[in-house]
């Protein structure tokens, strides 16, 4: 039959106890004398041990619960045995008798063994070759508990000097450590494990695998964070009706294909439009340098090419002086070189302005980060058919968002806004590109 574990009466005055922590859980095999749980009375913390060996069948007293003495808190029995728990609220049976028994037991233990110690404490002390007499008990009436033995065990010469030093420096309580060295000696490894656990508990690392950064990733990372953390930026957004630009692209398609072998894209037209527009707005075509604001004569447009291997930003030099066909040819060449990892350094240098188009991914708008030493970068969103109002009527036109991030050290809001306004005009009426 299952044996009850009761809330013990640990002293004449004790009437109730609080369950602090269960060391064992239901289903665990327990040995007689093994600590099952920790309770707290109005005076002390103490461990409650199993009186018999067996399986901890059921735990009825929950952590934090305050229970009168002699209340059953768990049952120990044979594996698979049914437990008839008493319905709560029922008075614990014959407390007086048990109390007497308990007292008798305590008296016996005092007279026979002199030193008060729990069986678990005795066992541990014996294993660790420690004399019970040397141990100060923290239990009721100075009864020695297992944890008293453990903490003495660690303090008695059972740590390597290095482990001791690290534990002291890092504030690790040796009593928490299990020694893995010779004869249970605590080593550096044990202390480091505890420190590792402590940091783990603070924030468990999320699983994943580390891919070493390629030199290119590192460069991108460095350039981008330099840019992000040095330039005070703001972003201007504008919506552009691309109906006419698209029409123009379609009209020119055949001719350009014949001439260059490539199909023109919206990006090509954007390069052209930006180049023309930058010529009119030199304030945007600038760089902050040590000596001052550099206003470029040339218009060299970089465009971002995102590949598996990383981000390339080849440069179309003097884009303002190129025809659309020339832009198409040069940009296709640069992209192809990027794909073959054969871009020369000079083909990636000297930009005065950058365009980054993420429209092909359906991105509506985004905040690009400036490509130094440029002062501005244009982010291009997807062209989508959207209802717009024209002359009081709703029409469905292909619309596109442009976002320009600007280094405020070089360019103020108004000139930036004027650039965007004119760019919009150029794209909405691309015949103006001819001027």
């Amino acid at each position: 039959m299952a044996v009850e574990v009761i809330m013990p009466k640990a002293g004449m005055a004790m009437e109730e106890g609080t369950i602090v922590k269960w060391y064992k859980k239901e289903g665990d095999q327990v040995e007689a004398g093994e600590a099952l749980l920790e309770i707290i009375t109005d005076k002390v913390n103490m461990e409650v041990e199993a009186e018999v060996s067996g399986v901890l069948l059921k735990i009825v007293g929950k952590e934090g619960q305050v229970l009168p003495v002699f209340t059953p808190i768990a049952y120990i029995g044979k594996e698979g045995e049914e437990v008839e728990t008493e319905t709560t609220g029922k008075n614990p049976e014959q407390p007086e008798k048990k109390e007497k028994e308990e007292l008798k037991k305590e008296n016996v233990s005092v007279s026979e063994k002199k030193v008060r110690a729990t069986p678990a404490a005795r066992k541990t002390a014996k294993e660790s070759d420690l004399e019970l007499r040397d141990i100060k008990g923290s239990g009721p009436k100075g009864r020695i508990q297992k944890k008293d033995v453990l903490s003495l065990r660690t303090s008695v010469n059972k740590m390597t000097p290095l482990a001791e030093k690290i534990a002291a420096l890092e504030g690790v309580d040796p009593a928490l450590l299990e020694g893995s060295g010779y004869d249970g000696k605590i080593t550096k490894e044990d202390v480091m494990k505890q420190i590792g656990q402590r940091t783990k508990e603070k924030g468990k690392p999320v699983k994943g695998k580390i891919v070493p950064l390629t030199p290119m990733r590192k460069t991108i990372g460095k350039r981008m964070s330099d840019s992000f953390f040095t330039a005070p930026t703001f972003t201007l957004n504008i919506e552009v009706d691309m109906r006419k630009t698209k029409e123009m692209k379609n009209t020119l398609k055949a001719a350009i294909e014949e001439e260059t072998g490539f199909t023109p894209t919206i990006t090509d037209i954007l390069v052209m439009a930006c180049a023309k527009n930058l010529k009119k707005h030199p304030a945007v075509n600038t760089a902050i340098t040590e000596e001052g604001l550099l206003i470029y004569d040339d218009v060299n447009i970089a465009f971002a090419v995102g590949l598996e291997e990383g981000l390339f930003v080849p440069v179309i030099k003097n884009a303002d002086k190129l025809t659309l066909s020339e832009i198409v040819t040069i940009s296709r060449e640069l992209v192809s070189k990027a794909e073959h990892m054969s871009l020369r350094p000079d083909e990636q240098e000297g930009s005065t302005f950058t365009i980054s188009n993420l429209g092909m991914y359906g991105i509506s708008h985004f905040n690009p980060i400036i490509n130094p030493p440029n002062s501005a970068i244009l982010g291009v969103g997807a062209i989508t058919d959207r209802p717009i109002v024209r002359k009081g009527e709703i029409r469905i036109n292909p619309m596109m968002n442009l976002s320009m991030t600007i280094d405020h050290r070089a360019i103020d809001g108004a000139p930036g806004a004027r650039f965007m306004q004119n760019l919009k005009e150029l794209l909405e009426d691309p015949i103006k590109l001819l001027t």
Binding site: T160, P161, L162, A163, K165, I166, L169
Partner: protein, 468 residues
């Protein structure tokens, strides 16, 4: 010897080298019934062809050095000429080897271990075939087959004038010119021995320094010492071809130039001897049988301690691994920790190292400190005229942990054991420098180097700049 009998052992050990015989004795101490199979002679490489014969010869080299320097100290030898009786030298060495191998045989016998002399071959179900005839089986097998010389694919390497460490130890005639290919531990020890015996030595090393695994300063200072003895050292050099010519051998570099000599020693490393693998399919890595810290292989109940797993190809590491394998084969659950296994090189002066090199320590720890004490400032060393070399200690500044100790100097192989013991016990730098060392002793230098790492060596001049 029993024949044709199928016996059931608790543990069958293949290989009677340091790993194998230590494993056999340990398993027997733990109550196991043990058989050991050895194809040649117990004692393995270490006793028969390795540590012991080379150290016997190194002692000869030391004595020759002492004779040569006697006059400096005012000990005048009337007829300063001496010559070597190689037959006697070899005999002396063989006597030493036999005394020790007989000793090992005696130990095995005293434990009632059955020794089979024959070629072992593993079969399924933990049984082992001996010389293709007898089969014995056991509950566990400890495969300690050790290692053998590796021969690089150099053209012309089959020439009988080209030796390995096996043959050179029985060489009856000292070569006038000896080229040593491979400047590792065996190469430099042989250089010392044969240089003392009178050979003109050239060491050719592929890496940029001899003893490339060791702390850089050790390599550098040793290089200088060997050079003063007239030993030629060519580093970053690769031999492609060896040809026999009229006047002897010629070793060719890739650019066509070459080195002429009478004999060549190949000391380019050792590879596991897998002759007993038989029909089993072990997980291997570059020909080494893979084991975990418990010496377990990928096949259940088969353990592989020693050189055969390539973890640390030294005899004392083999002893430790052999014992661990035996303990686990007998049901325990223990690991071999080889972190503090010292490495010794018996040059003159000798080398002892343990733990991390400075380069390794820099990579692993944020803030290291180093201490150094040169033997020239050590009383015992000066009295003995053994002033070359130094002790270098590397520590972790934060916790005072000793990370590495590197000694080049007199008795380095002995002093290093102190360092190893202290490091295993996790004694900190502060403590070592407070321990009393006998005076005058060489090992005081170790204590002083530890103190120097903390900037408080008593026997070094005051540090002008405080170490930050």
């Amino acid at each position: 010897m029993t024949t044709g009998m199928n016996k059931d052992y608790d543990v069958i050990v293949i290989g009677g080298g340091p790993a194998g015989y230590a494993a056999a004795i340990k398993a027997s101490q733990m109550g196991g019934k043990v058989a050991l199979i050895e194809k040649y002679k117990v004692g393995g490489t270490c006793l028969n062809r390795g540590c012991i014969p080379t150290k016997t010869y190194i002692r000869n080299a030391e004595m020759i050095g002492i004779l040569e320097r006697a006059e400096n100290r005012g000990i005048m030898i009337n007829d300063p000429d001496f010559n070597l009786d190689m037959a006697k030298i070899i005999q002396y060495k063989n006597n030493v080897v036999n005394t020790l191998t007989d000793g090992v045989s005696g130990l095995l016998k005293s434990y009632g271990i059955t020794v089979y002399i024959g070629q072992g071959r593993l079969k399924k179900d933990k049984s082992v075939e001996i010389d293709g005839k007898d089969i014995i089986s056991g509950k566990a097998v400890i495969y300690a087959g050790g290692s053998k010389v590796s021969r690089l694919p150099i053209k012309g390497i089959e020439n009988p004038l080209i030796m390995t460490s096996d043959e050179i130890l029985d060489l009856a005639e000292v070569p006038k010119y000896l080229t040593i290919i491979g400047g590792g531990v065996i190469g430099v020890e042989m250089a010392e021995i044969f240089s003392a015996y009178g050979s003109r030595i050239t060491i050719i090393e592929l890496c940029d320094r001899i003893l490339p695994q060791m702390d850089k300063e050790i390599s550098e200072v040793l290089t200088k010492i060997l050079k003063t003895k007239g030993i030629r050292i060519l580093t970053g050099a690769r031999i492609d071809k060896i040809k026999e010519e009229k006047r002897g051998l010629k070793c060719f570099f890739s650019d066509g130039s070459g080195v002429e000599c009478d004999r060549v020693l190949i000391s380019t490393g050792r590879i596991p001897d897998l002759s007993a693998v038989g029909e089993l399919d072990f997980k291997t890595d570059k020909g080494r049988i893979q084991v975990d810290a418990y010496m377990k292989t990928s096949i259940e109940d088969i353990y592989a301690p020693g050189d055969i797993n390539g973890k640390n190809m030294l005899a004392h590491a083999a002893f430790k691994m052999g014992e661990t394998a035996a303990q686990n084969a007998m049901g325990e659950n223990v690991k071999s920790n080889l972190r503090f296994a010292p490495g010794c090189v018996y040059t003159i002066p000798e080398i002892g190292t343990v733990g991390l090199t400075e380069e390794e320590a820099k990579k692993k720890y944020d803030d290291i400190c180093t201490g150094r004490f040169n033997f020239i400032a050590n009383g015992r060393a000066l009295s003995s005229g053994e002033t070359k070399g130094f002790v270098k200690v590397i520590g972790d500044r934060k916790y005072g942990e000793i990370l590495g100790v590197h000694i080049l100097g007199p008795q380095a192989a002995e002093i290093i054991n102190e360092a190893s013991v202290l490091m295993s016990s996790e004694v900190t730098l502060e403590e070592v420098s407070s321990f009393i060392h006998g005076h005058p002793t060489y090992s005081e230098s170790f204590m002083e180097a530890c103190a120097d790492a903390l900037g408080r060596s008593i026997h070094l001049p005051k540090k002008l700049i405080k170490r930050s």
